[in-house]
């Protein structure tokens, strides 16, 4: 296997297929469209199915139905399209189906949507936020593993630049520990035996007329607590002796990391920490890092969303300053001045001077 130059959206779709994804359904929307196109073109080659659904509501419904058969299945959209899918996202979480879904977001304004969700009830989705195409290829494959391991949806949070940047990548099937058999999946074979299956989001099972919502929700809650303990991932650089710690995620973090490396090479005491999982959020890592720094800055491309989690992590042990803000092109696809190392450096220098940046 050699490294090939591929566009991010195609590389992620190819990685999904390498991970065993055999069903995809989606509805076109910039900058998610190329992901959908790639699945449409290449899933049939491996005997898979890709459907250009008539709406996002239907796209996620189709993925749900495919997941119920035990297939690895995925859907995706932009944050706008995912807004339409929220009801299904919370139900699929409760039905404990291993959905993987892409958010090729128009910026980072979907942080709340990704980590809190707009769906009903108590539910949590694992959210992976790759920094570049190479990491996206790995995280896409990890997503399918985590989804199956926990029987819980996993979101891959990307954006326009991740989707459209070409990078040299190597895509081969990654090895993960063995998973339990999907004995819960429907295939019709147990009909009439008294043991037929019911994939159900409200905890209803055969021969029970009453549901037990409390017990059901409590069981899910315990699982989500376990995920919080097990799956928080992050990257850090230059924490040692950092006067200020900059927290960023996704594509913006790529600019931040570059600038922090540059500033460190000039002897400026800045550190960097990046949540790779937005949920579970790496509270402990950030909490620990905050003990040894004078202030913590959050640089995100929105009005201040992840900063809530950073504040919860830091819990007052250091001041938390907002250096992020809105930044977009005229089309609203979420590419803007913040995607420039000069702009990022300027923001970080503001932070070092003790100034917040207005979003």
């Amino acid at each position: 296997m050699t490294r090939v130059l591929m566009e991010g959206s195609e590389a992620m779709a190819k990685a999904a297929i390498a991970a065993g994804c055999r069903f995809f359904s989606g509805y076109p929307m910039t900058p998610f469209t190329e992901t959908l196109e790639y699945f449409g073109k290449h899933l049939p080659d491996v005997g898979g199915v890709s459907i250009n659904a008539e709406s996002e509501l239907e796209a996620i419904g189709m993925a749900w139905g495919a997941l119920a058969t035990g297939a690895r299945a995925a859907t995706g959209s932009t944050g706008q399209g995912l807004a339409l899918m929220q009801e299904s996202l919370s139900e699929i979480t409760r039905a404990e189906l291993p959905l993987v879904y892409f958010n090729m977001a128009r910026g980072q304004g979907d942080y709340y949507q990704a980590t809190r969700g707009g769906g009903h009830g108590d539910y949590r989705n694992i959210v992976l936020a790759p920094i570049d195409v190479n990491e996206a290829v790995e995280l896409t494959q990890l997503a399918f593993y985590l989804a199956d391991l926990w029987r819980n949806p996993v979101q891959i949070y990307g954006d326009y630049l991740l989707a459209h940047t070409n990078e040299t990548v190597e895509i081969s099937t990654m090895e993960f520990p063995p998973l339990p058999p999907k004995d819960w999946a429907v295939d019709g074979s147990l009909g009439g035996t008294g043991k037929s299956r019911n994939i159900n989001p409200i905890g209803m099972s055969k021969l029970k007329h009453e549901i037990e919502p409390e017990a059901f929700w409590r069981r899910l809650h315990v699982k989500h607590k376990e995920i919080e303990q097990a799956e928080a991932r992050y990257e850090e650089e230059f924490l040692e002796g950092a006067e200020m710690l900059v927290v960023a995620f996704g594509t913006v973090a790529r600019f931040v990391r570059y600038v922090v490396r540059e500033m460190r090479s000039e002897g400026i005491a800045v550190g960097y920490i990046r949540p790779i999982t937005l949920w579970p959020f790496p509270y402990e890592a950030i909490s620990n890092a905050a003990q040894n720094t004078q202030k913590v800055a959050v640089l995100e491309q929105n009005g201040g969303q992840m900063i809530d989690d950073v504040r919860l992590a830091v819990l007052g042990s250091a001041p938390v300053v907002a250096l992020g803000g809105f930044s977009s092109d005229e089309a609203g696809f979420g590419i803007g001045p913040i995607h420039g190392t000069d702009n990022i450096r300027d923001r970080i220098e503001h932070g070092l001077a003790g100034q917040e940046v207005m979003p």
């Binding site: 509501l57 993925a63 009801e87 019709g188 074979s189 009909g191 099972s205």
Partner: protein, 262 residues
């Protein structure tokens, strides 16, 4: 005609030699117990559906995708594999299931509130796509589960909780005749409407369900069965009058028959 003393003992199978023609429940039902209202038509329709699946020897390959309505309570006793969908979304879920399980007999069970209100686009798109699934609509013209509210298939004049003086076309619009709408689409292979308001129509309902399932088994495309069912509770009519009300009030607008058979 007969006096009380003529009442026969019926609390056990007969002691004289006799052939059992029909058991209490169909084989694909786990239990007879359910909490649906007296006089409800839905269990009758579900019995016919399960018998049709059994008769076609599809018990071991059927997967149902179930909507949200009173009939959802029956999912605890339906002995086929099931996927519980959201309100209105069953045809899409069934699409994904069927695509990954092409040899399965994949059916949806939805009510009129589920299918014709919330999920109208789903059933239309799945039909237009010619998706090789069977969608079954239990149409009683009301949201039974919430206590009898108007749906998109409530007929003009029908009393519901929010059209208490009867649905007025000027104020509430006209009902959607979903079978007629779907029959127009070239993606549909079989469309029929039937009802469970008397024994012969109930038998006929099973015949139609068998044809719809056979359409899927033959790979001909989208099949659709609309079954008119009684909801005396939701209609505010005396329970024993349910069948007559269904036949004469709903049935006069949602007319019975095979609309398409390819």
């Amino acid at each position: 005609m007969s006096s009380g003393s003529d009442i026969l003992q019926t609390d056990a199978p007969p002691s004289q030699p006799a052939e059992k023609l029909c058991a209490f429940k169909p084989d694909l039902l786990l239990s007879e117990d359910h909490h649906l209202c007296p006089g409800c038509g839905e269990p009758i329709a579900v019995r016919m559906m399960l018998e049709a699946i059994k008769e076609l020897e599809c018990s071991r390959r059927a997967v149902g995708v179930i909507g949200i309505g009173c009939y959802t309570a029956l999912t605890g006793i339906i002995d086929t594999d099931l996927v519980q969908a959201l309100h209105g979304r069953a045809p899409s879920v069934a699409t994904g299931t069927k695509r990954m399980l092409p040899n399965g007999l994949v059916y949806t069970l939805q009510g009129d509130g589920d299918m014709v209100n919330e999920g109208l686009q789903e059933v239309i798109h799945s039909a237009a796509r010619g998706e090789n699934i069977t969608c079954i609509l239990l149409n009683n013209g009301v949201f039974g589960e919430t206590g009898g509210h108007m749906t998109a298939s409530t007929v003009v004049g029908q009393r519901t909780k929010n059209t208490i003086d009867g649905r007025d076309a000027k104020e509430h619009g006209q009902p959607i005749l979903i079978s007629e709408m779907l029959a127009q689409l070239s993606g549909t292979a079989y469309v029929a409407r039937c009802g469970v308001f008397n024994a012969s129509q109930t038998v006929h309902t099973k015949r139609i369900l068998r044809k719809a399932f056979q359409t899927q088994l033959d790979g001909k495309g989208f099949s659709f069965v609309e079954i008119l069912t009684m909801c005396p509770t939701g209609w505010f009519v005396p329970v024993p009058e349910g069948p007559d009300y269904l036949e004469n009030v709903l049935g006069s607008v949602h007319k019975l028959g095979e609309l398409k058979c390819e």
